[in-house]
């Protein structure tokens, strides 16, 4: 019988060592960790709490200021990288599960946990390709212009009280400004590639981001108005005291503003259904059509950093930031958990909805979202005005309202968990026997 032998794929040098170690360590280590899953989880929590304590007592009041700055910047850089790496892997797992697939399963031996690392290694080793007709300096610069502002946004995002690189008076505006700069990197990439598809992606991004910045900012300002500060730490601290103290539930306008903000943030992160700048069925790959290797990775990192950053903003401003919903001690871990949940919803939306057309994107923003957020802004400010002791009847109503809205939020969350649980319990029936039969390991 004729057989075709494929030459085995060989990693070379450092990457070979890394992949081998990752696979070996993952193959032995992670099943071991899983066996003691609860113990590992508890240990991780203990370690994290110890880390939190360490940071608060030793690193924050640290030494000469530049040592503290250096430590924090390096830490933030590592955090952004981890967010991107786990985000990319998570997105592939999430998309796999949504589509009744498994997603990456092999690299690293446990649920493909090292897939992003392996991909990164591959990208680093790829040929550095620049199209001959490209505007070379701009082509080289563009990925940095996309990634660096996305990272800079983290300099002002507090992860907890005191857990921030620089406490700034206007940190909210700073984060928004940094997220907005990313558009220039994208336009630069699209234009410098000298490809028409890239140019289309860039033009779409330009139109989309400039328009959606306004409803995004207005929704946030409605919340800012009710706290009276642009400082993210103060905004987060204003909601201390559990679930019903969250700004989301403070008045009906803020409740709606959270959703308008979330929609606008999807558009500003180029996430589906607003992923027109890179819409792969129309524009091949949009603005990064001509990019490969590490430059492409930087766009990817920028996207995931941006995703987490907008989710972090939503968490701080609407969802109580680092405060515990059940009234326990506040901690950066709460902040991470809430932001991760919002990132997961972004992924969920992406793998469910089709893409909107560009005229509909503009239409939705200018004709619906923009007037609506303006209305929310005005409504929220009037609410602020009337919920004062001068209007005792309204004020008492306003004091009761958070409980009503909070219950509504609880119901929504409960519905989500019920759906998830139902899906998990009946996963065989939902997916269908046949599909499971075809899955590896079934």
């Amino acid at each position: 019988m004729l057989t075709f032998e494929r030459p085995p794929v060989e990693y070379k040098g450092l990457s070979r060592t890394i992949v081998r170690l990752a696979t070996k360590w993952g193959g032995i280590g992670i099943p071991l960790l899983l066996r003691f899953a609860w113990g590992v989880f508890l240990a991780a929590v203990v370690v994290l709490i110890a880390f939190v304590w360490l940071v608060q007592h030793f690193i924050n009041p640290l030494l000469p200021w530049f040592v503290r700055d250096f430590v924090v910047v390096v830490g933030l850089l590592a955090f952004v990288c981890i967010v991107a790496i786990i985000g990319i892997w998570g997105e592939r797992k999430v998309s796999g599960r949504i589509q009744s697939r498994l997603g990456p399963m092999r690299t690293g031996a446990w649920h493909g946990w090292a897939q992003s690392l392996a991909d990164g290694l591959k990208f680093v080793q790829k040929e550095d390709l620049i199209p001959a007709a490209a505007d070379k300096p701009l082509f080289r610069l563009a990925p940095y212009l996309a990634l660096v502002p996305a990272f800079c946004a983290y300099l002002a995002i507090p992860f907890g009280v005191g857990w921030v690189f620089r406490e700034a008076d206007v940190s909210l505006l700073f984060v928004l400004a940094m997220l907005a700069i990313e558009v220039l990197g994208v336009i630069m990439a699209g234009w410098a590639s000298n490809s028409k598809w890239s140019l289309y992606g860039a033009m779409r991004e330009g139109c989309q981001l400039v328009s959606y910045e306004i409803p995004m900012g207005l929704s946030l300002l409605a919340a800012v108005l009710s706290v009276g500060s642009l400082n993210l730490t103060e905004l987060g601290e204003a909601q201390a005291g559990g679930w019903f103290a969250w700004l989301l539930f403070q008045n009906p306008f803020l409740f709606a503003a959270f959703f308008t903000y979330y929609i606008a943030s999807l558009a500003s992160c180029k996430r589906a259904p607003f992923d027109l700048p890179e819409g792969e069925s129309e524009l091949v790959a949009g603005f990064h059509t001509e990019y490969s290797g590490f430059r492409f990775v930087m766009f990817f990192f920028a996207e995931y950093a941006g995703m987490f950053a907008v989710s972090a903003l939503a968490t701080i401003i609407f969802l109580g930031g680092w405060g515990s919903p059940i009234g326990g001690p506040s901690s950066p871990l709460w902040f991470l958990a809430k932001s991760t949940f919002l990132v997961w919803v972004q992924m969920w939306v992406r793998w469910t909805l089709p893409r909107i057309r560009i005229d509909q994107v503009m239409h939705a923003c200018i004709k619906y979202l923009l007037p609506f957020t303006l209305l929310l802004f005005i409504g929220s400010s009037f609410w602020q005005l009337y919920a004062s002791p001068a209007h005792p009847l309204f004020a008492s109503l306003a004091r009761l309202l958070p409980y009503g809205l909070g219950t509504l939020g609880l119901l929504l969350l409960g519905l989500y968990f019920f759906g998830a649980g139902y899906g998990y319990y009946y996963r065989n029936r939902l997916v269908g026997q046949m599909a499971r039969r075809h899955l590896p390991g079934a």
Binding site: S95, D275, G279, S281, R355, R357, Q360, M434
Partner: protein, 390 residues
């Protein structure tokens, strides 16, 4: 010669229409031959003004494999595998069309079991082909998940085909005089299981994709092809029925055993927009899957034991003469015009590919679309380049 004034749809864009006055530099965009939404090696030259498409010109021939010329060099039986490669997503239907053409000219009678098997497999292949079409249409619209779901179901059909013919894409199963071999033991049972499993899934896809608000916004009132235009351009299949013309060869001129079955012809009704828009063309395919399930059920009921091959010599020799025979493929009417000089291979074989004729509507519908609508339009026409170029 008669002149027909073709009335183009007055406005393709509805809301948020790009103001017709803001004109900037025109751009010539080379879409394809390698492009995710051209479904193969189609090349479309687009003249655009920003996002607005002014003119679209398809250029064909990247997948031309001289199928018609090859037919003149090989025997009738030997040509069957070449028909697989015309519309490679509906190889069973191509086989059926070619076999029926040859049988018509040769006056070959088919045993009933073979006939019912042919119908069952052709309809299963129609479902598989429509699953591919609807799933990848979702992908064209940016929804990735429906494609995977559709492929999941298509996988089962592929398994059924593999059990019957041994192949998963190019079956060559329906041959001249019947089918190549009988289906294995328990195959009909598996087939019924699939139908029971599949029917409720269609509702699921409708909820996920067909009735999705964004999807409707993207496809309704886009690429409207009025019935007169569809007839003038010779559209067939779901493209024609999507324009509201209830024309289906299986009903209009029943071939094989299609006259015996109860089924409806789904037509576009303009549910969310105008009759003949992309959504109608898409939804006709979804509804046709339901009808195919109906047909298969009836055929399975009628399937009785018996021979599966008529007595046909190994090398088929047809009498001199010519015949034109058309069958209803998933993409439209596939026609074979066979001229025989009495030898063992055709003197001339002209193939009418439905995708080729359907594609001719693209330059008419494309002007005034947005760039993203081109993907919607191409996906709703649902071409297979293997058949366009032959």
């Amino acid at each position: 010669m008669k002149e027909i004034e073709v009335h183009y749809p007055p406005e393709v864009l509805q809301e948020g229409e790009v103001p017709s006055d803001i004109r900037t530099e025109e751009l010539v965009l080379n879409m394809g031959p390698q492009h995710p939404s051209t479904h193969g090696v189609l090349r479309v030259i687009l003249q655009t003004d920003g996002e607005l498409v002014l003119k679209a010109t398809p250029y064909l021939g990247y997948l031309h494999r001289c199928a018609e010329k090859i037919a003149e060099k090989v025997t009738y039986r030997q040509f069957t595998p070449y028909t697989d490669r015309l519309d490679y997503l509906a190889a069973m239907n191509n086989n059926l069309g070619f076999a029926l053409t040859v049988e018509k000219l040769g006056g070959i009678e088919i045993p009933p079991r073979a006939d019912y098997l042919r119908v069952i497999l052709a309809e299963l292949n129609r479902i598989a082909s429509h699953l591919m079409a609807t799933g990848s249409y979702g992908l064209d619209m940016g929804a990735f998940t429906p494609l995977i779901y559709c492929f999941r179901e298509r996988e089962w059909i592929m398994d059924l085909f593999e059990a019957a013919s041994g192949a998963r894409l190019t079956y060559s199963y329906i041959t001249i005089g019947g089918v190549r071999e009988d289906v294995p033991e328990g195959w009909t049972q598996k087939c019924r299981e699939f139908l029971d499993y599949f029917e409720p899934k269609i509702t699921e896809y409708n909820n996920l994709l067909s009735f999705n608000h964004i999807f409707i916004q993207r496809t309704a009132n886009v690429g409207i092809c009025p019935p007169e235009l569809a007839l003038a351009y010779g559209l067939t299949g779901p493209c024609l029925r999507g324009s509201g013309v209830p024309w289906d060869l299986r009903k209009a001129m029943p071939y094989s055993r299609y006259g015996e079955f109860q089924f409806d012809i789904p037509v576009g009704r303009g549910t969310y927009g105008t009759v003949g828009d992309c959504w109608d063309r898409y939804f006709v395919r979804v509804e046709e899957m339901v009808q195919s399930v109906r047909i298969i059920r009836q055929a399975l009921d009628k399937l009785a034991d018996g021979p599966i091959q008529a007595k046909v010599p190994r090398v088929v020799k047809l009498p001199a003469g010519e015949v034109y025979y058309e069958v209803e493929n998933p993409r439209g009417q596939l026609g074979f015009h066979l001229v025989s000089d009495g030898g063992t291979s055709p003197y001339r074989l002209k193939i009418r590919g439905p995708s080729f004729c359907n594609l001719s509507i693209l330059p008419v519908l494309a002007p005034n679309c947005l760039l993203a609508d081109i993907a919607a339009l191409l996906g709703s026409i649902d071409i297979v380049m293997g058949e366009v170029d032959r």
